[in-house]
């Protein structure tokens, strides 16, 4: 196993899938000549050529719409949205087309489309460029939403997404690209729709995903020094949601904290909390707590921005409240 950054892991998955299957190609803004805004597709243009690494105009609706159309013909496009904030310009095509076509036409349309995009705050980019609206996309049946928190999962899930015959929204996190981890070489697949325990524990269940996994792991390390063993369940896929490991853990710990970077209202935490109450009410020893972003558009000022995004302290605090 190699120690790779998240960026390298994603890049490797894409590269290997393109080598493996000539039907896989990339389209998006600055994916080719520039090498990818986040350098994920660096070197791809020279190796695979302009036909398979297609630079597009700044036309989000056309990027996703054309991705859908090409997928309908049997190709496996990976359509890149420069950041998730620009997905709103393509919302119609994500929601009203990609998530609906298979069902609405009685199963005859199949669209193996991956929408690769990146979200997250904390980089002083201001309100329009710092959002974590993952829950919005997870609202729609028909769409698969994946958001990995480790380099290995990023590689394995991206390969699974490319091979899936459903439209998959693959959400990366901008401040995870430099994060390193062990990544299995070669054909390594992580199944979509499977949550997993990233750290075993017995005292409290922390449910999280993506960037907040990193923070939750740090919080768990500190809690361990104080004698509290937190079990961390990483959702990895937001839809279809795999609650089994969450419920199994909760039945053991009887306490849970849900940690997400997005806003609390109508968020991932709201969903997980409700499901815990629905599916394991008899096991509840303390009210489930949610850690999430403050209910404001993110400000530019560094101190203000940092105080709006969940941090390790917030997670530790919430765990102590449910113990």
């Amino acid at each position: 196993m190699a120690r790779l950054t998240m960026r390298e892991a994603i890049s490797q998955a894409l590269w290997e899938e393109m080598e493996r299957d000539p039907k896989v190609f990339i389209l998006g803004e600055e994916v080719g000549v520039w090498g990818g805004t986040y350098a994920v597709t660096k070197g791809f243009y020279d190796h695979f050529g302009a036909e398979r690494v297609r630079d597009t105009p700044i036309s989000e609706a056309a990027i996703i719409g054309a991705g859908i159309g090409a997928a309908l013909t049997g190709l496996r496009p990976v359509a890149e949205l420069m950041t998730i904030n620009f997905a709103f310009s393509a919302m119609d095509h994500i929601v009203n087309e990609s998530a609906k076509l298979h069902y609405m036409f009685g199963g005859q349309m199949v669209l193996p489309l991956v929408i690769r995009t990146v979200g997250g705050g904390g980089r002083q980019l201001g309100a329009t460029h710092s959002q974590t609206p993952d829950a919005i996309f997870a609202h729609f049946p028909g769409l698969v939403v994946v958001a990995p928190g480790t380099p290995a999962d990023a590689k394995g899930l991206l390969k699974a997404a490319i091979r899936s015959n459903d439209p998959v929204m693959f959400i990366e996190h901008a401040t995870l690209y430099q994060t390193r981890g062990e990544v299995p070489e070669g054909d390594f697949i992580v199944p979509i729709g499977k949550s997993t325990v990233q750290r075993p524990g017995k005292d409290v269940t922390i449910v999280t995903y993506s960037k907040m996994l990193e923070l939750s792991l740090k919080a768990a390390d500190q809690l361990a020094k104080e004698g509290v063993e937190a079990e961390i369940v990483d959702l990895r896929t937001l839809r279809p949601l795999d609650m089994a490991p969450v419920i199994e853990s909760f039945k053991k710990t009887n306490r849970a904290v849900i940690v997400e970077e997005g806003w609390k209202s109508y968020g991932v935490g709201s969903e997980i909390t409700a499901r815990i109450y629905e599916e394991a009410f008899d096991y509840v020893d303390a009210p489930v707590k949610r850690v999430a972003q403050k209910e404001v558009p993110l400000p530019y000022n560094r101190t203000l921005e940092q105080s709006a995004i969940p941090n390790v302290e917030d997670i530790i605090q919430a765990v102590k409240e449910v113990l």
């Binding site: 056309a62 719409g65 309908l72 095509h93 349309m109 899936s164 896929t237 279809p240």
Partner: protein, 320 residues
Amino acid sequence: MEKQGYLDLYHQMVAIRRMEESAAELYQKGKIGGFLHLYIGQEAVSTGLIAPRTPDDRVITAYRDHGVAYNCGLSAREIIAELLGKATGCSKGKGGSMHMADVKKNYWGGHAIVGAHLPLAAGLALGDLYSKTPGVTICMFGDGATNIGYFHEALNLSKVWNLPVLWVCENNQYGMGTAVDRASAVSDIREKADGYAIPNDEVDGMDVLAVQAASAKMLEEIRAGGGPRFLEINTYRFRGHSMGDPERYRKADEVHRYQENDPIGMFRKYLIANDVASEEEIVKLEDAIEEEVRDAVEFAENSPEPAPEELFTNVYVETY
């Protein structure tokens, strides 16, 4: 064109007219739910347009799609069954009037968000370009659709990538109740294609042979690698935008004036005047079409409802 070619065009136009009339009746009886947009008056548009296509050519359109479906080879039975929401409908009763498709016949629907299918059409054409397969994508949309951003993104992309796509604007003079000149900065809609350096033309949409010729010419140019083309087809819908339209935005005389140029009536006269077919032959054909549509309605009414478990099928292809 051989005699049979002319009769096929006439058959398709009359069948669409009869199907739409039956649909209106079924709607009034409460057997069709939701929205119902009729194609009456515009039959020559899709009939002429689609006639020169090869089986490799893809067709995609908006929600005014029953006629287009028929021209693409779907049977009146599966079209009317879909209107009634039956399991035997082309979309298994899950799509309804606005969402009909049959991908095996290269008919890609049936899309109800105005203009949203234009980027999809660019993608279908990209599929053929990328895979080096011979198809041309024919994408139909209304005059109103040329005012939404998707239209502009799709046309631009099609030119930048030299996509094999025929953009077809069915200018029926209105988008719901809004006349073209009240909504579009240019009334000659094809001028919009100039902004994207896409060669364009216009044709009388009440003349099926003129539409057929214009379509054949452009399809050939696209097939030769010439990139996208844009055809504005001028037409008129004789009925309201959808069922229950109070039609306050236009006068009855205006409708009557266009009805004098009924595309079916004019083509019928043409066939007789040019000795393509006798009045007698045509009446026989019309009777057969009458029967075809009557049979389709009977088939649809006697078809089963979708099974309750169909509610949960086709959400995803994979099992996760």
